[in-house]
Symmetry: C2
Subunit: 369 residues, 2 copies
């Protein structure tokens, strides 16, 4: 059995998601929950059908409340420390779908102090630049500007700090140490930070002076923050936030998650040529060593990164199934599969980059509310 690590700051190894559900104490998304969701959404997002969103906390409660007429709001975020890469888009695309289907507000946090505090060499000048760049990508995903509010920790601190200290008062260093693995050498900003990440989960309730359920779609590595927040919320007379968790888009070369701080990462700003080169050069292949062997025995889509990427980005189930079968049978070669993935991603990014350019003029709509 391979070892794996999943923390808010490090994801490594071949992740056993079932084991993670047990370790973190979350619930698996089962077919009954999907059917129940479908009653409201009519169809199901492919990220749900394919169990890329695979785990949750209290999503059933969110539906209970929704069915009683008590609408939730969505909260997700991005800690700016690099350009946006493909992995970031996954929860955002799904969040947009939830916003569209349930017609709910989204609070999108940019905790621009987080990575500054956790990364020795990252400056506030860096995070300011990436906050702007990342915002363009978020807007490009297509969130409803009337229903979406950006929260930038250093810029909205007048609203957030007062709420954060309510949370912080209820978290001992001992608890933070247990959840995040801090030591005596951790800086006191990093220790405090989780309080700021908790704020958007109840800020709308404070502003409207009534408790509103909160649903947080996010990659599973952020769960420790919200686990701590869920313990605190009832102590400050707020609902525990619910959450729904996705797997990580794997790195091109290996397991774990794609990370902006490693090489071979596909950024949303990459050119067609860059995408092509990265996938051709680095994408781990499930194909056979020789053409002959591949034709005879077939490839292994389950470990092939190009195929894995298609499961995250190819909406068409039938098309995906055909690629799976063709690759497995040996009809589709590794080079051909890579080409399909390159084209899919480049098509998607071309569209994204167009919207990203237009987003420059839209930022104020999301920031000033």
């Amino acid at each position: 059995m391979q070892k794996f690590i999943v923390t808010p700051w490090e994801v490594k190894g071949n992740i056993d998601y079932d084991k993670l559900i047990k370790e973190f104490g979350t619930s698996k998304i089962n077919d009954a929950l999907l059917e129940r969701t479908k009653k409201h959404t009519k169809d199901l997002h492919y990220l749900l059908k394919r169990k890329i969103f695979f785990s949750h906390r209290d999503f059933d409660w969110i539906l209970n409340e929704y069915e009683k007429g008590n609408k939730f709001f969505l909260y997700t975020g991005r800690a700016p420390s690099s350009h946006t890469h493909l992995g970031h888009l996954v929860p955002w695309m799904f969040t947009k779908w939830l916003q569209d289907k349930f017609k709910v507000d989204l609070w999108f946090q940019f905790p621009d102090e987080e990575k500054f505090l956790f990364k020795e060499n990252l400056t506030l000048k860096d995070t300011e630049k990436y906050t702007y760049e990342n915002m363009l990508d978020v807007i490009a995903v297509g969130f409803d500007p009337k229903r979406t509010k950006f929260l930038v920790d250093t810029k909205h601190a007048n609203l957030m700090y007062k709420e954060a200290i309510k949370v912080a008062k209820k978290i001992t260093f001992s608890t933070a140490k247990g959840a995040f693995g801090f030591t005596d050498e951790t800086n006191i900003g990093s220790i405090f930070y989780t309080s700021m990440q908790a704020v958007p989960a109840f800020l709308p309730s404070v502003l409207k002076n009534k408790k509103i359920p909160c649903l947080i779609p996010h990659a599973i590595d952020q769960d420790p923050h919200f686990r701590v927040a869920r313990d605190v919320m009832p102590k400050i007379d707020q609902y525990k936030p619910a959450s729904i968790h996705c797997r990580f888009l794997p790195a091109l070369t290996e397991s774990g998650k794609m990370s902006g701080s490693e090489g071979h990462t596909i950024f949303t700003t990459d050119s067609e040529k860059e995408v092509e080169n990265k996938i051709k050069k680095y994408a781990f292949s499930g194909g056979r060593d020789t053409l002959e062997e591949h034709r005879k025995k077939g490839g292994n889509p389950d470990i092939d990164i190009s195929y894995q990427y298609l499961t995250f980005f190819e909406e068409d189930d039938k098309k995906l199934e055909k690629i799976y079968q063709d690759y497995k049978s040996g009809k589709l070669l590794s080079g051909e599969l890579k080409q399909i993935t390159i084209e899919k991603i480049n098509k998607m990014l071309k569209e994204h980059q167009k919207k990203r350019d237009k987003a420059r003029k839209q930022i104020d709509k999301f920031l000033k509310w």
Copy 2:
């Protein structure tokens, strides 16, 4: 030898100020420094002459810079958790004198989260109320509204939080533990808090984009905060703040400092009758057991709290000296000494309360800048 404790949260016992200077590593204010100060201020405040302001860090450097034409700014503050008491007025009166003599700006911080974080039962509603009440007292002291800016941590967090995280990144839990005696059970807001207290020491430099020397007049118990801040400042390319420290106004009944959280405390909002009753009932007397013995052997002004209070509030050196001699000789009785102190404090508070009432209309001048 009696034990004593001086931390930002607790002051107890019979304080040996010379020992404190050694323990904290500050410098004693000597006559040469006083003479040098006098060159600029013409006269000396009685709190300096009487060595109630008795210790400093780099005050000589502040004068060096001032003499080179590099003006400093003043920074002091008040953590709102109760009404203002007489002890609070001491550093403020002295700070006003410095502002008047050197014609410098003052940044007055109201860290309204501090006591909320450190006191289990204090709510943000409490601290909001006391912030307002304390502001009235600060304004009543007579600071120049053109040169004085109020900083309220939760209200000015847009400015302060971004600066605080620069400080926080440079302080490990280990350092905070050493300076403040934190444990694993300390909440993460309290752990972070010192970063916010450091901010006013360099915020004016950030806003003006040039390094400006900072002088902090304060009671000696706050020194651990600024000791930590002084270590951090050069790492974020700012001057170490200088400071000048006063002794504590003793409690009526005992040694240690007057505290808003204990009984027998004289608040600035007390009526004449309340002041009279508190002093008559609680002020520890240095007089003899019987009238006869007192007339014969005299009283001990050095341990008499009524006399001690006069050293903090009676500006007239000659008057004070006469009271000292008369009490020591037995000419002045304990009841008479108490009466002098009652009258002095009531006269001062009457004046203060008038200004305090007018201050309600002036708050905006100090808050909005």
